[in-house]
Amino acid sequence: MSPQDFQTVVVVGNGMVGYKFCEKLLAKTKAFRVVVFGEEPRHAYDRVHLSEYFNGKSADDLSMSHLGWYREHNIDLHLGDPIMEINRTEKTIHSQKGVSLAYDYLVLATGSSAFVPDIPGVEKDGVFVYRTIEDLDLIQHYAKAARVGAVLGGGLLGLEAAKALIDLGMEETHVIEFAPRLMPRQIDSAGSAMLQSKLESLGLHVHLNKSTSSIAGGDTIKGLAFADDTSLEVDILVISAGIRPRDELAKLAGLETGTRGGIVVNEQMQTSDASIFAIGECALYDGMIYGLVAPGYEMAEVVAAQLCAGQRAFTGYDMSTKLKLIGVDVASFGDPFVTEPDSRSIVFEDSHKGIYKRINISNDGKYLLGGVLIGDADAYNLLLQTVNNNIVLPPNPEDLILGARGGEASAGAGVASLPDEALICSCEAVSKGDICSAVTDLSVMNVEGMKKCNKAGTGCGGCVPLVKDLINETLKANGTYIKNVVCEHFDYARQELFDLVKMHNIRTYDDTLDQLGKGDGCETCKPVVASILASLWNDVIVKQHTIQDSNDRYLANIQKGGSYSVVPRIPGGEITPDKLIVIGQVAKKYGLYTKITGGQRIDLFGAHLNDLPDIWEELIDAGFESGHAYGKALRTVKSCVGSTWCRFGLHDSVSFAIEVEERYRGIRAPHKIKGGVSGCVRECAEAQSKDFGIIATEKGWNLFVGGNGGSKPQHAQLLATDIDKETCVKYLDRYLMFYIKTADSLTRTATWLNKMEGGISYLKNVIINDSLGINAQLEAEMAALVNSYHCEWKEVVDNPELRKQFSHFVNAPKEKDPNVQFDTMREQVKAKEW
């Protein structure tokens, strides 16, 4: 086909809808020559977010595309050159700058202009409309010298304009509305009242039932006079009294227009001339002008489809909308006004927080018809979907606006319940099915990717949270939640692997890999499986020493320079003078640096690998045992001195700490576990910063769980109050075993609890009320671990084969690593710098 064979489509108007038409047409076909005429000097920009121009967004930021886009698509773009005449007989157009052109199809996307009522004085300086970037530039310039601003019109655009005046630094901003309430087209009167009081509390002055009779002043505006003989002094006025369709060109060409403006179109968006279409705010369909961008885009789609011989019709459009007006959420969806006897309404009103919610439901209670949300519109997307897809309501539809109460799980319809046809992004006509298949088939993983893929969320942006939920839900459903999988060798989350190893009674890493994994393993899955095996069977871990993490492999903490540190257990921080002396003697003999740890014990640093078994032999002979400072296991249970010495102590916290520490010593978990026991509410043991904390009360003990120090400190949460010791231990057994079985690897109890759906109340239900019916099992499993306790260092010391593992050179077992070297500081050794 040669260029002259192309049919010519001329688009009059380069606003959002005119631009969208070009985009949609060119996405379908390259078979047209497209010529665009725009009146404004700029190419199409996002008028919906115009007020962001005052928050630092530039004209470029608001732009719908770049100039290069028009070039790349061979679009002939004439800016600043409005069409003056259409000759329908010859099918030609003539522009202001003198361009004449023949067309095959003409698309009128001339939009609308601000309606300026005929009030004496509107011509004065300081009176503006709010429509284009040029208007904004003028307002911005004039506002510098203004103190008091007013907006004529309390509709959606008027409130946007008021926001702009506030942003420009007006000391006072007034909104003047002729009707008895704000936003009468979108929300009901109770909603208006709530919105008004919320806006007034933010400093906006609202005047209702005010008819402006004249604008006072000489050349420049000085004030407003009203029909009720009141007046208001203002320095700047922005008129936002509605829109007027730009139909003058159509009228001139003899096309049919409405009595109150607008170019009459049929379902195909055809005007009274079959080769001329009208779309957007200039089009009058079924007696209605659609003043929102989404229906405009739908009209553009209808025409683009027509030109490609497709079948698509415009049959009216949902005018639901959600906005943030001066920081207040406002949403209206479906039929917001329907009342009895045609429907029933559920209304929630909280004048303290400025929240108003109304939903209208069918008389049989099955379907949602529409509603209004003021102050909190989080539920908007799901409510809109519920209306549009005729989803049957849950038995307690009030939960949709009140949220689930009484600790029950959320009642509303989740994204999962939406049908595939559900329109998620109405601006770009993207359905749930489109989004889900982009995730499944095209591996789109996030909102940014989705925007690139099908433009979902690029229009008004209101659907972005829903798009995000859908992406995550679909990823989850597809099982591609990579984070949860152990590593490339095991396609299981830790919890699944734990259950499978138990079910198959697997005892070694190699068998686990052979039966449940693939490849040769790695430094991620080896310690995870090692920990699972230890938590399940409690065998001596160094029997499989090559799968243990760095510290577990040699039952000591590797330190800078390649030496190790040794921490004997000192339960509850209580130690006899004789044992203190032994620690001192051992440290001296092996040249070790000693330091008191944060967990009330003593760390001995600088041990050669070869010396570890000898050091431990001496410690064990003196009655010490391993402190598991190297393991993801119970570390210490810190205690205050308690009632045996302290004059405030209520109970014997030291004895309880020792009992608990000895109960759980050696038990391996997804991460380390620390505990604390305080003898009174002064909390000297800092038990609330531990994975479990026990604090004495007059009547017994309070048990706290899920606390953490470290990089993200958080207080533990109260699990049970005034319980006796036996109950406390029972709850601890269940809690710890539940954690060991279900947490992801390297997840502390605090993070585990933070991520738990339902949080502490869910955990309470499991641990105290046995809501899962697993408590007997948890207790039995814990008992098995407690009863199979062994000091793993004693096992090594007594076993020559295991001892052999602790040498640096396999071909010179007696030789120490010559690279381990020390400096001296404050009469002790320290590791040489890296």
């Binding site: 993490d549 760095s550 492999r553 690279n819």
Partner: protein, 118 residues
């Protein structure tokens, strides 16, 4: 195992097969040099690299966990200090750093393990 070795390689006996744990490593002393020897018994392969981790200059690689990665099951070792991983075949750092390990050919005859030193 097949190893293509440049001409002047001296095969040095370093230890017996039972000295190196299965699917793990051990450190051998060759002159003043420390060499990490790995017994990848799961694959029936032996590897040897320098024992020094180039990241923080620590003589610890023989104490690291071994494993494999990727579609080709590239054998690797992870340093026990900061889990930098290195290919046992090429010595290349697999965790994105610009380090490289020296690797040595290994020969097993009976229960005798030899390392090829240039």
């Amino acid at each position: 195992m097949d190893t293509i070795v440049a001409a002047a390689v001296e095969w040095v006996f370093v230890c017996t097969t039972s000295d190196i744990p299965q699917n793990g490593g051990g450190c051998v002393k060759v002159g003043d040099e420390q060499i990490a020897v790995f017994n990848f018994s799961r694959r029936g392969e032996w590897y040897a690299t320098q024992n020094l981790c180039p990241h923080k200059q620590q003589m610890v690689l023989s104490r690291g966990m071994i494993g494999s990665t990727g579609d080709t099951c590239e054998p690797k070792v992870a340093c026990p200090f900061h889990k930098k991983t290195f290919s046992l075949l090429s010595g290349e750092c697999l965790t994105g750093d610009d380090y490289e390990l020296k690797t040595y050919p290994v020969k097993v005859e009976g229960d005798q393990v030899y390392i090829g030193i240039e």
